[in-house]
């Protein structure tokens, strides 16, 4: 993995949801690739991180899965966003933005000092 960052679970769920919203139904490898690319290859996803996260989201009802064929005719399990997942994405994205905005204010160089 080298110096690439590990992903922590809460943010990974959000990334997966956002990816599925942006790209439509995708298989596990596709999701992983897309997240790695979007992060500018700063993140690396191995199975052990990705699949438990996918299972959790599926158990919570945010995503659903079914087997299908990929563009190069390989059998793969495709994940798609459910309606509950869209709602969850909206909520978590909002709360994440808020959190980052707050943190950004803390970390920004003090102006009035």
């Amino acid at each position: 993995m080298g110096d690439k960052k590990d992903v922590w679970q809460g943010t990974l769920a959000l990334m997966v949801l956002k990816t599925l919203e942006a790209m439509g139904p995708l298989h596990g490898y596709g999701i992983a690739r897309r997240i790695e690319q979007t992060s500018g290859d700063l993140l690396a996803l191995n199975y052990g991180t990705l699949y438990p996260a996918l299972l959790k989201l599926e158990q919570e009802g945010a995503i659903a899965s079914e087997w299908g064929l990929s563009e190069n005719n390989r059998k793969a399990k495709f994940y798609r966003l459910t309606r509950a997942g869209k709602k969850q994405l909206q909520k978590e994205a909002d709360s994440w933005e808020q959190t980052t905005a707050i943190l950004a204010r803390f970390l920004a160089p003090a102006e009035e000092a």
Partner: protein, 899 residues
């Protein structure tokens, strides 16, 4: 909501095999490899890089599985599978453990089912029994007494926090004159069924129009389901038909539900008749229904919703206190109170409270001993499995996982014995029916299997498993990974730590067994002591017959006449030496009656209880029972209603009320009349053998006998009283063939019932003590036997070096005795502490309520302690000698080769 969904998915996951994941991971890998190849790697390099990037498949599989199912349940299922398999593979071990535990759990569950049947759900078939309470009047001396009907009317009409009903147990002659049955029933207030929340199975119960207080206005009866089936074949058309009860026709209006047996705990009644029929049915004068001193109504009340028993009691007591002031002539100093139904002083359960409590404690002791035995066995097995455990530790199992497996195994064993003990309990719980005294009414013991008993058993199983697996689980902690795994052969002796753990268990067992044995011995001795108490009268060779003449339509005068003629007839029968009759019978289980007396020359202190117990007797009574007259004269035939009132008092009466004065000629006021004391009889026992002397009075049958009194007939003969039973019946028949309700029993048998609580306590505690002793002996034996096997090599070496077999035996027996010596003082302390706790238990209420003191539990008899200790030491020696002798027979050569 979301977590619930996840849980559902996980539970579903428990039953699903996850093959999909492998396929998914495989396809993921292939995508990666393809991309790598596209990026210009050689196929081999592409695969290698992909695998490096994606990480271990096995770990992922593990992570996903942990999330997709419930890992705890999965490992539990595994543990249970292993536990069952090991149980089946070691049938002997399993049998011993399961049986030992079944004895412990079975006895506790049986005792609990008795407690459940008598104390926890004393009334069956009523709605919401937890809201029912017993209402009792409280005499000035704080004794609980039944209520009078006028008091009940006041309570019913003026109190708002509860609904109250009253009942008066009585028996009735049902059927035609020539073959009447004696049937027990209750004379009840009209609202009886409404208060208890009982609806008729067939027909109806009493209507609100039948709740009134008009004597003789309600000739209706509700019969029990039992009676309906036994006498009417369950025919629904009997509703509206009449039943001939005490020579009067009553209309059957309904049949009670199957489970309903009346308002007295543990007692089954078959008829319910409005109390207002009492004057008609039993020839009781109507004024007696209005008499506040006629306290014969048992009160039962239902608390209104949201009302606590304390609030209701406060309201009741406030009114009762006001009534005591308003009716000061008859109720001065009286009050009223409420009790939970199981605390009711009426009914057979009253005398079971104390014995059952002690029995429960002792059966838990037995269970503890069984636990210690099983813990010892599990520990021995844990040692045998050390290598298995170490191997698992080495493969990454945590110690807590191993401990959990030991617990699971213990739990499986405990549950297996729980099932056996439930079967045992179903069989043993009925024994209570045989143990209870054969009173005159039937018992209603509710042994239905209910959640409470099952829950109790389950809780016991879990606690037992926990207790028994503590020691082996502690042992797991001491396992040393590096030291043991490479060890090729078995060690010569078990670790000293382990040995001391097991020794502690045996010491605890001996201590517990000592407590149980002492408990059994003390209660047996208490029983013996009470049995040796002289009742103060001579019941041998006396036949006691109860007649129920009022139910045969006799008037008061006819009854008196009947007694006189029967006495004359029997007097001339060969073998009969004396005859007498009275209202009450001493040392019976029936209620004893009293009268508020005013003694000339004695001023009671404020609030002093002047309600003095009395009997109404024929002139021959004292002579027949060999109660000596210490002063004055006996009653004669001339002391009748034309003569002046006379009475005889006992010595305690004189001691308490007329000390140092001549009691003869003194006048006493009661029932509105004046009586002159003509004699003093010796003290005797009246209610129980354990009672302290109490003032007692005798009145002349011909002067005071009233319609509501009982009639007991005594016949003393030279031969055995049993031989007289038929003679009495025949003479009664000659006098009047219509009198069918006769109940004859030798008086010695009859009064044996007064020893009943001590008797069951002694018998059952004896059984428990024996059981405890046996279990402890097995425990000592198994420890010694095991330690001998462990030390085969050591013993072999010793013998090869010249130790004699005698020396080997002595060494092993000495070890056992050292454990015993450590256990005995601990047991003595435990027993003394328990004895104190038991003696401190309050024993409230009626004279039927037998406190632990009566059972002799507080009597710390050093001799009993000493003999119990010696007895245990002997048992220990015996349990150790068997394995010791086996050890002494070891061939040194074989032992040394033994591996």
């Amino acid at each position: 909501m979301k977590s619930l969904r996840v849980l559902c998915c996980r539970i579903r996951g428990l039953f699903k095999r996850n093959d999909e994941l492998d396929a998914e991971l495989e396809s993921h890998l292939q995508f990666q490899v393809e991309d790598n190849v596209r990026a210009g790697m050689s196929p081999e390099e592409a695969g290698r890089q992909a695998r490096i990037k994606l990480g271990g498949v096995e770990q992922t599989r593990q992570a996903v599985r942990e999330r997709s199912t419930l890992p705890f349940v999965e490992s539990l299922a595994q543990d249970i599978r292993i536990a069952t398999r090991t149980m089946v593979c070691n049938p002997a071990f399993t049998a011993v453990v399961v049986l030992t535990l079944a004895i412990g759990i079975g006895t506790s569950t049986t005792v609990f089912s008795w407690i459940n049947a008598t104390l926890l759900q004393p009334l069956a078939g009523v709605a919401d029994p937890s809201r029912l309470v017993v209402v009792e009047s409280v005499a000035a001396n704080h004794e609980l007494v039944p209520n009078s009907y006028p008091d009940f009317q006041d309570f019913r009409d003026h109190l708002h926090l509860f609904d109250m009903a009253v009942s008066h147990p009585a028996f009735f002659s049902v059927g035609n004159q020539d073959h009447a049955d004696r049937v027990w029933g209750e004379l009840v207030s009209g609202n009886f069924f409404a208060v208890l929340g009982v609806h008729a199975a067939v027909g109806r119960v009493f209507l609100p129009t039948e709740y009134g207080d008009k004597p003789g206005a309600f000739p209706v009866v509700v019969i029990s389901n039992r009676y309906w089936h036994s006498h009417f074949n369950g025919d629904p058309s009997i509703i509206g038909r009449t039943l001939r009860i005490n020579q009067h026709q009553l209309t059957i209006v309904g049949v009670a539900p199957v489970r309903f047996h009346g308002s007295m705990p543990v007692t089954a009644y078959d008829l319910w008749i409005p109390y207002m029929q009492q004057p008609v049915l039993n020839g009781v004068q109507e004024w007696m229904l209005r008499n506040r001193q006629n306290r014969n109504m048992l009160g039962i009340a239902r608390l209104k919703p949201g009302v606590t028993i304390d609030q209701a009691t406060a309201e009741l007591a406030a009114l009762a206190t006001r009534m005591a002031v308003a009716n000061a002539d008859v109720s001065e100093g009286m009050s009223a109170t409420m009790l939970p139904v199981w605390k009711s002083p009426h009914g057979p359960q009253a005398m079971l409270v104390a014995p059952l409590r002690i029995l429960m404690a002792v059966s838990l002791l037995v269970l503890l001993i069984a636990c210690a035995n099983v813990a010892n066995l599990l520990l021995a097995r844990a040692v045998g499995r050390e290598r298995e455990f170490i191997a698992r530790l080495a493969l990454g199992a945590t110690r807590s996982r191993l401990a959990r497996q030991i617990l699971t195994e213990a739990l499986v064993l405990a549950l297996a014995s729980g099932i056996i003990s439930i079967l045992l309990t179903i069989w043993m719980s009925r024994a209570l029916g045989f143990l209870l005294p054969r009173g005159q009414s039937a018992l209603a013991l509710n042994f239905d299997w209910n959640a409470r008993v099952l829950l109790f058993t389950l809780a016991l199983c879990i606690l037992t498993a926990l207790a028994a697996s503590i020691a082996p689980a502690l042992h797991i902690r001491t396992l040393n990974l590096s030291a043991k795994l490479n060890e090729g052969s078995r060690t010569g002796t078990a670790g000293t730590r382990l040995q001391s753990l097991r020794s502690i268990l045996v010491i605890a067992e001996i201590a517990l067994a000592l407590t149980a044995v002492i408990g059994a011995a003390v209660s047996a001795r208490g029983f013996q002591t009470t049995r040796q108490i002289k009742p103060g009268f001579d019941p041998s060779h006396v036949l006691l017959s109860h007649f129920y003449l009022n139910t045969s339509g006799y008037t008061l005068d006819q009854r008196k006449e009947f007694c006189r003629r029967l006495a004359d007839k029997l007097q001339t029968t060969p073998g009969v030496t004396d005859t007498a009759y009275s209202d009450g019978v001493p040392l019976g289980l029936e209620t004893s009656w009293w009268e508020e007396l005013n003694i000339e020359g004695y001023t009671p202190s404020p609030g002093e209880n002047m309600k003095i117990f009395r009997n109404v007797i024929s002139p021959e009574y004292l002579g027949l029972l060999h109660i000596p007259l210490v002063k004055g004269r006996d009653f004669t035939e001339h002391d009748d209603d034309k003569a002046d009132g006379v009475m005889i008092v006992n010595q305690e009466f004189v001691r308490r009320y007329l000390p140092g004065r001549n009691p003869i000629g003194r006048r006493v006021h009661g029932w509105g009349y004046w009586f002159t004391v003509i004699g003093v009889a010796a003290d005797s026992k009246y209610h129980s053998l354990g009672e302290s002397p109490l003032p007692y009075t005798y009145f002349a049958f011909r002067q005071l006998y009233r319609a509501d009194m009982n009639l007991a007939f005594y016949t003393r003969s030279r031969q055995s009283p049993d031989a007289l039973i038929n003679t009495v019946l025949q003479k009664v028949h000659e006098l009047d063939p219509n009198v069918t309700a006769v109940n004859s029993i030798p008086m010695e048998e009859y009064i044996a019932a007064s020893l009943y609580p001590q008797k069951i306590a002694a018998t059952l505690l004896g059984c428990m003590g024996t059981l405890a002793l046996l279990l402890a002996a097995v425990g000592i034996y198994s420890l010694m036997a095991y330690s001998v096997v462990q030390r085969t090599r050591e013993i072999g070496i010793r013998m090869a070096l010249g130790a004699t077999p005698g020396y080997v035996v002595t060494t092993i027996v000495r070890e056992a005795l050292i454990l015993c010596a450590a256990g005995l003082p601990a047991g003595t302390l435990l027993t003394m502490a328990l004895g104190h706790a038991l003696a401190a238990l309050p024993s409230a209420g009626s004279y039927l309520n037998v406190g632990p003191k009566l059972l002799g539990m507080s009597a710390a008899n050093p001799l009993i302690y000493l003999s119990a200790a010696i007895f245990l030491a002997v048992v220990t020696t015996l349990a150790a000698v068997i394995p010791a002798r086996r050890a002494a027979r070891i061939e040194p050569a074989t032992a040394l080769r033994a591996e």
